[in-house]
């Protein structure tokens, strides 16, 4: 089966679900969610077993590229969407309050369909090696997210988040398109290999191409939530519904990074642009690490805290980008920047989804999204509290979790690169950020275990559906196992 059938299958799944939503007379929509979850699971199986290895790497019509990275990021996209649907199914009880008044289930079917279409966009992004394909798939994802973010029509916060995401997202699209126009103007190509050739031909001028690259970085920096293009992140994360926050945090970031990696590679390897690109990247890394971690300290809303933590993680991930420079590549000991970033993103998927699953279950019962609302969770539900503990510890990067190995690999690259080029300031910012991280993640753990519940009203029994319980245990095992045996993920790379 050719790899591009995967996206077609995903689209067919989405359209089937949309058709059922529109034509089914059955009022309950949970069947659609189950169909989506099982359909995604089947496509994931196809991805693992049915794509022949003779087709990797392979180029279709010059616009669709399949290599092991593309397949890896496609798997991340499908897995993320699958978990988001599990979250959405749990969230639907809280969700009903905010959609339509006449019919309590109307509108929720689309809430399960749209992530499927976004997933197709994420998968195309993983295969895009052409600025046109990158643009179209990126917009498929972004426009899908506009709707998802503002989906809770009766909730003012959700609409406000939607408007902010719309305006800033469209602004970043404008920068991206203008940057693409200039890159086409200077190099005469849209495909990245053509751009790489043109950059090395020595026939183009430096100023316009740096200008174009900077415009492109504004657009992509928005997607991966890098400072100073992060202003949408806290408000949108806080305002929108929990499953979509998780989706934005993992899916959007992972796909943004594969595109970022693909786009900056020709620029980093050309002697014409290399030094300026490294300068731009180093600046972005430092401000992202500094700002993301320090502002996270004073947050009390748990979604805002995770928003700033997501910015901080983008900083850690970008730390490995300057090291993709060709002069340094042969000197590096250990996994390459591409492998380390992919490992970190896979681990980030596991630990973030674990945290969001716990918070979704807790907040759909108590309606609270502050750190204080987790108080006494250790006594109320030991499983949820332990899952949250492991998730948060992994986000902070404590040994025996997957987050530790991710940070270890990235620090390994950053330190070796600092030895090579003398950019120790990046390492200093990263150490500062990581230690600040220990503090604000510890606040969550302290709230769960140390502070007892104040009122008896908080002692509602937390009911966990069987599906969520299974998913939590699988993710928990994943975080710990991949932390002890990192080969489980690195083996795929």
């Amino acid at each position: 089966m050719p790899a591009y059938y995967l996206e077609i299958l995903i689209l067919l799944l989405g359209f089937t679900m949309l058709g059922i939503e529109a034509f089914s007379s059955n009022r309950s929509r949970s069947g659609i969610a189950v169909l989506g979850i099982s359909g995604l699971f089947v496509v994931l199986l196809f991805l693992i077993i049915a794509v022949p290895s003779s087709e990797v790497p392979y180029d279709y019509w010059g616009i669709y590229h399949v290599d092991k990275w593309a397949l890896f990021y496609k798997a991340i996209a499908i897995l993320t969407t699958l978990l988001v649907l599990v979250l959405a199914k749990d969230f639907s009880s809280a969700f009903k309050k905010y959609t339509s008044q006449s019919n309590e289930f109307s509108g929720i079917g689309e809430y399960y369909c749209l992530p499927i279409f976004v997933c197709a966009g994420l998968m195309w992004m993983a295969s895009a090696k052409d600025l046109i394909t990158i643009f179209v798939s990126l917009e498929l994802v972004t426009i899908g997210f506009y709707v998802l973010v503002s989906f809770m029509r009766r909730n003012v916060g959700s609409l406000e988040a939607g408007v902010k995401y719309l305006v800033l997202g469209a602004l970043s699209t404008g920068f991206l398109v203008y940057g693409i126009a200039w890159i086409f103007g200077v190099t005469g190509h849209f495909d990245l290999s053509g751009i790489a050739e043109a950059l090395n031909s020595g026939e183009i001028e430096k100023k316009p191409i740096i200008f174009a690259f900077a415009l492109l970085m504004v657009g992509l920096g928005f997607k991966v939530a890098a400072v100073p293009f992060h202003i949408w992140v806290p408000d949108v994360y806080q305002g929108t519904s929990m499953p979509i926050t998780a989706f934005l945090s993992v899916g959007s970031k992972a796909a943004g990074f594969i595109v970022l990696l693909r786009v900056i590679e020709p620029f980093l390897n050309s002697p014409l642009t290399s030094s300026s690109v490294i300068l731009i990247l180093s600046f972005l890394v430092c401000v992202t690490l500094f700002f993301g971690n320090l502002v996270a300290i004073k947050q009390t809303n748990i979604k805002r805290l995770l928003a700033y933590s997501s910015i901080a993680h983008a900083g850690f991930l970008m730390m490995a980008l300057p090291a993709m420079e060709s002069g340094f590549h042969s000197k590096l000991i250990g996994p390459s920047p591409m492998e380390s970033i992919s490992f970190y993103l896979a681990g980030y998927l596991l630990m973030t989804m674990l945290c969001f699953l716990v918070i979704t279950i807790v907040s759909s019962l108590t309606d609270g999204e502050n750190i204080d609302d987790l108080r006494g969770l250790g006594a109320r539900s030991p499983l949820l509290a332990f899952a949250m503990l492991v998730g948060v510890a992994s986000l902070a990067g404590i040994p025996l979790t997957v987050g530790f190995f991710g940070k270890f690999l990235l620090f390994n690259i950053a330190i070796q690169y600092a030895v090579f080029s003398g950019s120790w300031y990046i390492v200093a910012f990263a150490v500062l950020g990581a230690s600040a991280g220990f503090y604000y993640y510890f606040k969550i753990i302290r709230a769960m275990y140390c502070g007892g519940a104040e009122q008896d009203g908080d002692q509602l029994a937390l009911t966990i559906s069987t599906l969520s319980r299974v998913v939590i245990i699988v993710l928990l095992a994943g975080v710990i196992l991949c932390g002890v045996f990192p080969k489980l993920i690195l083996g795929f790379l």
Binding site: V156, K164, V167, L171, G174, V177
Partner: protein
Amino acid sequence: MPTLNEYLLMGGLLFVIGLCGVMIRSNIIVILMSLEMMLSAANLTLVAFWRFGGGEGLPADSYNAQVMVFFVITVAAAEVAVGLAIIVALFRSRQTVDVEELRSMKG
């Protein structure tokens, strides 16, 4: 006949005007119009680069840039459709289209 530089200048001006509109104005509808203007500026730049891409004032031999322009137009239409829907929903619940009044979240 106008030269490439004149088209690029025009595109740049449109882009900056759009950007200023997004930054300064507080009515969301006007902001959306400014965003469309930025996309149009990018389209103009693309077509201008295509028209002069072949050297000696001749068009480039591939139609890539025109295809890109079509995609940008389509995406802009989809963006506006979704954007206006969100704005209508916002107006129904808040009775305002002013971004200055959207400050319920802080921190």
